[in-house]
């Protein structure tokens, strides 16, 4: 029992010698490392899938073959809806311009963007290289962003095909449900992994506590005879194991920070608007660059809160586990 000045407890239990301190800290650190990585992985997968699903659902891609050829004569119905610029006649209008004019008249769109030659070149370069792009007849590509909750009119595809035969409208709605399914699966796997890690942690803490109880069997019996309540002995073990687990939890979480920082830095172009390139100096600068993610706001707040909770969860788990095991063990005493 500690006195009010917080001096060392002098009740003969000497738990610093009774419990396997170092191995307990190491094991809890390993469990916390796994838990932190699992949490970060799950969080990242969920964030990416949510972002991609959100983007996919609102994104429509339109490919217009031979974009510079004159547009076909539109039907009467289409003519009524296609605004024609004053200085432009039908036979002068290119297919891509005609399609763009139709799209601009759509109220459901929040953004219309035609990819220029440089953007197309960037997209295709990984597959075709620098020489192949120029040699191919490329379609005109238009990205449409739907306004929230809006959808394209049913006859749009046929109207665009009337202006530019072969025009392809790609809706990405299907990807949304697939990505959500993937995200749910990843989260379920992560939850299972965290439960397993927690279970192993409980088992490790339980074994350490039982070792300590075995080592201090005589002292506990003496304290019990002097009138020590179960709660006193349980709290002594609980506090000691909790502090050791907190230390292990902090160590494990800190060990998880570098890999998480690197992954966050790598994923930044995929998960956020800012484009982060890898350092040109080589991999020796990856770590400082990665750690900068924690200061420049690249790491989401929720992820950091989750990481901070890992040592606290380890401590609480240890406290509860040790309390329960000690109280059950004390039942053998009257």
């Amino acid at each position: 029992m500690s006195d009010r000045r917080g001096r060392r407890v002098r009740d003969g239990l000497a738990l610093s010698h009774a419990l396997p301190d170092r191995s307990l800290v190491a094991m809890v650190a390993a469990m916390s490392l796994l838990a932190a990585l699992t949490w970060a992985g799950a969080f990242g997968a969920w964030s990416l899938s949510a972002r991609w699903a959100h983007g996919a659902a609102n994104l429509v891609t339109i490919q217009v073959p031979d974009p510079d050829r004159p547009a076909s004569l539109p039907s009467d119905d289409a003519t009524a809806q296609v605004p024609v610029k004053e200085n432009q006649t039908d036979h002068q209008r290119s297919r891509i311009d005609a399609v763009m004019d139709v799209l601009r008249a759509q109220s459901a769109l929040s953004e219309i963007h035609r990819l220029d030659a440089r953007e197309l070149d960037q997209i295709l370069r990984p597959w075709l290289g620098t020489s192949g792009v120029a040699a191919l007849p490329l379609p005109g590509v238009i990205e449409l962003h739907l306004a929230p909750g809006a959808s394209l009119t049913d006859g749009l595809s046929s109207r665009l095909a009337g202006l530019a035969p072969g025009t392809l409208v790609e809706r990405n709605d299907d990807w949304r449900s697939r990505l959500q399914m993937v995200a749910r699966s990843l989260l379920a796997c992560a939850a299972l992994a965290i439960v397993l890690v927690g279970g192993i942690g409980v088992a490790v803490i339980g074994m350490a506590t039982r070792l300590g109880l075995g080592a201090r069997r005589e002292s506990i019996a003496i304290l019990h005879g002097l009138g020590a309540a179960d709660g006193y002995v349980a709290s002594r073990f609980g506090r000691r194991v909790a502090w050791l687990s907190l230390a292990g939890g902090i160590a494990g979480t800190l060990l998880a920070v570098p890999p998480i920082a690197i992954v966050v830095r790598f994923m930044a172009p995929l998960s956020g608007p800012q484009a982060v390139t890898m350092p040109e100096q080589g991999y020796s600068t990856i770590l400082p660059e990665a750690f900068a993610a924690f200061t420049d706001g690249s790491v989401p707040g929720d992820l950091m809160i989750g990481l901070a909770c890992v040592p606290l969860c380890a401590m609480l788990t240890a406290l509860l586990t040790a309390q329960v095991i000690v109280r059950v063990w004390l039942r053998r005493l009257p």
């Binding site: 029992m1 006195d3 009010r4 000045r5 002098r10 009740d11 003969g12 000497a14 002292s219 019996a221 003496i222 304290l223 019990h224 005879g225 002097l226 009138g227 020590a228 309540a229 179960d230 709660g231 006193y232 009257p334």
Partner: protein, 248 residues
């Protein structure tokens, strides 16, 4: 402080009606298997034990080895509970349904002196003696005062920083007595407290226990040292084969 209390009139001189501290009526205790004590001795069964002990009494607990003395002391120290019969201790009706916290609080009101001392080897004499007070969450200033007083009483003030392994048998026994009485318990139980001691040391220990009894604490001392019983005459509970054969 205990030292000052000694100057007051003894409990028996005050004339107050004495409360019953221990009451057993037809108490039977036996273990399903062969139960052994901490020292490995076989604990005998107890059969139809009935007696009462009022506050401030000193009682010898006599009987040959295996008569059930240790079993009875374990029962009185709440290390086990009776199988049947009525058992009232310090005003509490002891039944299996009594909560563990209640039993723990009762144990804090009982001082137990074991034949093998049961001191904490890693603690100093002072810290060993302070244990019951610290378990009662007493302030460290009070703890220090009480411990110093009781160590003066048992003449161990000069050895307060020593570890049990550095003490003689008599010093260890006096430390155990100091620990048993430092929290002013209502009941002190002593199991063969003089077994490992020389005659003079044994007399000194019993004199201390008599002194505690005179201050109002009920004391029960198990022994098979007849010379000591003759030197300190008092009412005796005599057990044979687990039965109480006399109480006079």
């Amino acid at each position: 402080m205990l030292v000052r209390v000694r100057e007051y009139p003894s409990f028996h001189q005050t004339g107050f009606a004495r409360v019953v501290m221990i009451r057993l009526h037809n108490v039977t205790w036996r273990h399903a298997g062969q139960m052994r004590g901490r020292r490995g001795e076989t604990l005998s069964a107890l059969t139809s034990i009935s007696f009462t002990v009022p506050q401030g009494e000193f009682r010898w607990l006599l009987g040959p080895s295996g008569a059930g003395k240790s079993s009875l002391l374990r029962l009185l120290h709440l290390e086990t509970l009776p199988a049947s019969g009525e058992f009232e201790l310090l005003g509490v009706d002891i039944r299996p349904a009594v909560g563990r916290s209640v039993l723990a609080r009762l144990r804090q009101r009982i001082g137990m002196v074991h034949q093998d001392f049961r001191l904490m080897p890693t603690l100093s004499v002072a810290d060993n003696v302070a244990l019951p007070l610290r378990l009662q969450r007493r302030h460290e200033t009070d703890v220090s005062t009480e411990v110093d007083a009781i160590l003066n009483w048992v003449d161990l003030a000069a050895r307060k920083g020593a570890r049990p392994a550095e003490l003689s048998g008599g010093e260890q026994q006096r430390t155990a007595i100091a620990r048993a009485v430092v929290a002013r318990p209502d009941l002190v139980l002593a199991d063969e407290p003089t077994n490992a001691l020389e005659e003079s040391q044994a007399s000194r220990v019993i004199a201390m226990l008599r002194e505690i009894s005179a201050m109002g604490t009920t004391v029960i001392v198990a022994t098979h040292n007849d010379a000591l019983v003759r030197r300190f005459p008092a009412q005796a509970l005599r057990l044979e084969h687990g039965r109480l054969v006399s109480n006079e």
